[in-house]
């Protein structure tokens, strides 16, 4: 067992995990309608390749990708595409985004699948491509396309870290997966290790999940490259950079990637999804979701198809309690509030948390900052949350960037300990999105400037060309004019000579 390190800051939270681990994972039935969004990941939305009235088979690709950072979308079951509509996205903005609505035919019929060769015989790039085509994204909640992280781009990967920390309170979907399907995670780990040509695989699990640790430890003896590491429970240990710090004692550089330290971090559920894609030929069409919180009657974990309306899951978890107040996708620290439970489950939905008025902070309790510095003590990224708050409030975006706003992982520790109940993370998110917006605007302005300049240059060139053409024509005309004059003179001279000849002839007669 390796030596463990600590990361700066962090807090201890009441984990509330046992409420949703009392029962087995429930299977959600195929719903009456599936609402499959085309934008479920980081990067541009997939491009729809089906149209209204098409019949689709289970696992058939319905959204393809054209960009580098993107992921395809597949039909979760067989049925008919009844419409492609705008629907509120599972996004903080709740803005409408394109959704393919499928009416299942109940047959759950798979598309034609031909078995693949053993993963060991495949080239890493081949494996990456299958992972890409299976639409696999990080299932920890960020939904970053996995195949991009599976490319070591010249690095010799020392270790693949499988993140089973699951540090946010209430969420237990990874815990339940590790307890009940450890073999799937190990199979996925084997494939990922081969694709990355990684020396070791470390599965890191917080010590508040002893059953998960035990079930994965049973595989430790089988593979000499495997290490199951129990790490102390603290929030946010599950953050990629914090986890690397705990396991290796090294820091990922500011704005850098784990790859800079020859490491790759993937979620345990992502590893299982890779196993399903390669060994079972099943693209990412379902996932495990924790439905929990004081606002649901019977908290549990549910395996559901992507596109299932969240209200179906709430119903399966016993329905709302009378005082249910707020629906959050994700955990209480980093989750986003949803406006409606008609929102479909997407690849990034790891948890549905239903809060009651007592279980959350009253927004009106916000007071002025008293500069106590508690936020600085708990920041796991060693930032200055208070400074960032002031700069964000005064819209001083240059200073925000100088104070490394973009290193903020939005874990919410600072807001949690703030005695004035200031929604600090909201200020950072506001600052980040304003800076992004400004960057987009300046890129667009640069393009417009370039095009205007090119247009002006072209106009001048055309003008000059036209002028040159006119001058040439004029010169040609002038030259032609001279020719005419001489011709006339010659003709006159000829007729004169003829006349003189005739005259002399008559004189002779």
């Amino acid at each position: 067992m390796g030596k463990l390190y600590t990361f700066p800051g962090g807090i201890h939270l009441a984990d509330h995990k046992s409420v949703s681990t009392q029962s087995d994972i429930r299977q959600s039935a195929i719903p009456e309608r599936l609402f499959v969004p085309l934008d479920q990941h980081i990067g541009p939305a997939a491009e729809c390749v089906v149209s209204k009235g098409d019949s689709v088979l289970k696992g058939q690709m319905i959204g393809r990708v054209s960009e580098f950072i993107s992921a395809p979308v597949h039909a979760p079951t067989s049925g008919t595409v009844i419409d492609i509509q705008k629907f509120p996205a599972a996004h903080a903005s709740a803005l409408p985004s394109d959704v393919v609505i499928i009416e299942p035919d109940g047959k759950d019929e798979w598309q034609q699948r031909s078995p693949l060769a053993s993963y060991e015989k495949m080239d890493p790039s081949e494996l990456r491509n299958i992972i890409r085509c299976a639409g696999i994204v990080g299932l920890g909640g960020a939904a970053f396309p996995t195949y991009i992280k599976m490319n070591p781009v010249g690095h010799n990967i020392g270790a693949l870290i499988l993140n089973g920390a699951e540090c946010e309170p209430w969420i237990t979907c990874d815990d339940m997966l590790m307890r009940t399907h450890p073999g799937d995670i190990i199979e996925g780990a084997k494939i990922m290790r081969h694709a990355l040509q990684a020396t070791r695989v470390i599965i890191a699990i917080e010590d508040n999940k002893p059953q998960a640790v035990a079930s994965l430890r049973s595989y430790e003896g089988e593979y000499e490259w495997l290490e199951v590491q129990e790490i102390p429970t603290s929030y946010p240990t599950g953050g990629e950079k914090q986890l690397i710090r705990i396991l290796t004692g090294r820091d990922v550089p500011s704005q850098g990637l784990p790859l800079d330290l020859d490491l790759v971090v993937q979620n345990v559920a992502t590893a299982a999804a890779v196993h399903y894609a390669i060994n079972n030929l099943q693209p990412l069409i379902s996932r495990i979701i924790t439905v929990t919180g004081p606002g649901v009657k019977s908290p549990c974990n549910i395996e559901a198809l992507i596109g299932t309306p969240m209200s179906d899951l709430i119903e399966l978890a016993g329905g709302y309690t009378d005082d249910a107040d707020r629906l959050i996708m994700g955990g209480p620290m980093m989750g986003i509030t949803l406006k409606t439970d008609a929102t479909p489950v997407i690849k990034a939905t790891n948890c549905l948390l239903v809060q009651t008025p007592e279980s959350q902070r009253d927004a009106s309790a916000t007071r002025a900052c008293i500069r106590c510095g508690e936020c600085v003590k708990v920041c796991p990224m060693r930032l200055l949350p208070q400074q960032l708050y002031w700069y964000s409030r005064s819209r001083n975006f240059d200073q925000l960037q100088r104070h490394n706003l973009f290193d903020c992982i939005e874990c919410g520790c600072c807001a949690e300990v703030c005695p004035s109940h200031i929604p600090l993370v909201q200020y950072y998110r506001f600052g980040k999105s304003e800076i992004w917006k400004k960057e987009q605007e300046s890129t667009k302005a640069g393009l417009a400037r370039q095009r205007t300049e090119a247009r002006q240059e072209r106009a001048e060139r055309i003008k000059a060309e036209r002028k040159a053409k006119h001058a040439k024509a004029k010169a040609a005309k002038a030259a032609a004019g001279d020719d005419k004059q001489t011709e006339i003179k010659a003709a006159v001279a000829r007729s004169k000579a003829k006349k003189a000849e005739q005259q002399s002839a008559t004189e002779k007669l």
Binding site: S93, L95, T366, A368, L447
Partner: protein, 182 residues
């Protein structure tokens, strides 16, 4: 005495040569301030400031001929940075322009007769089409300057506000803390 005169004369000659060399070899073409001011403007090329484009307005600003509150698409944010860069006092945008909504031109393709007049008007070459062929706007490149709207003989160009999507959405600014007295 002579030594000091000679020393100073030699120093003067050396520095003179250095300055002369620098003025020839490090000469900057054009006014760098104009470039800087131009880079602050939104490059809509709409001409609402009364100049034919962003760069002419930038030149006029640097020469002190133009007011700095004329850029409608830029709004108060651009006025603020212009004031800072030019060392002048910021003024609010005049009221008639205050409600500027960023828009994009859309050609109603069924009505378009293919006259090419909008193509000639577009300052950023964002309209494609040919004589007697349908025209269309490349939306990624349209700056929403509205210059194509008046020349259209069949009124087939609509200015539609840019629809927010999840990629361009920004988090709202949190409400400031409750202020308490005593």
């Amino acid at each position: 005495m002579i030594l000091s005169i000679l020393t100073l004369a030699a120093l003067a000659a050396v520095f003179g040569l250095l300055l002369g060399y620098a003025s020839v070899h490090f000469k900057i073409e054009g006014d760098p301030l104009v470039d800087q001011v131009d880079s602050l403007l939104p490059q809509t090329q709409c001409g609402q400031c009364g100049y034919v484009g962003c760069r002419p307005y930038a030149t006029a600003l640097v020469e002190g001929e133009a007011e700095l509150n004329l850029c409608v698409p830029g709004g108060d944010d651009v006025i603020a940075v212009l004031a800072e860069t030019l060392g002048r006092e910021a003024k609010p945008l005049s009221d008639e322009h205050a409600a500027h909504v960023p828009s994009i031109a859309y050609i109603i393709e069924d009505i378009c007769i293919g006259c090419t007049k909008c193509i000639q008007a577009c300052p950023v070459d964002a309209i494609v089409g040919a004589a007697k062929q349908m025209h269309t706007v490349i939306i990624e490149e349209c700056t929403g300057c509205e210059l194509c709207v008046p020349p259209c003989p069949v009124e087939c160009i609509d200015m539609l506000p840019i629809r927010a999507c999840t990629d361009t959405w920004t988090w709202p600014e949190p409400a400031p803390a409750m202020q308490t007295v005593n």
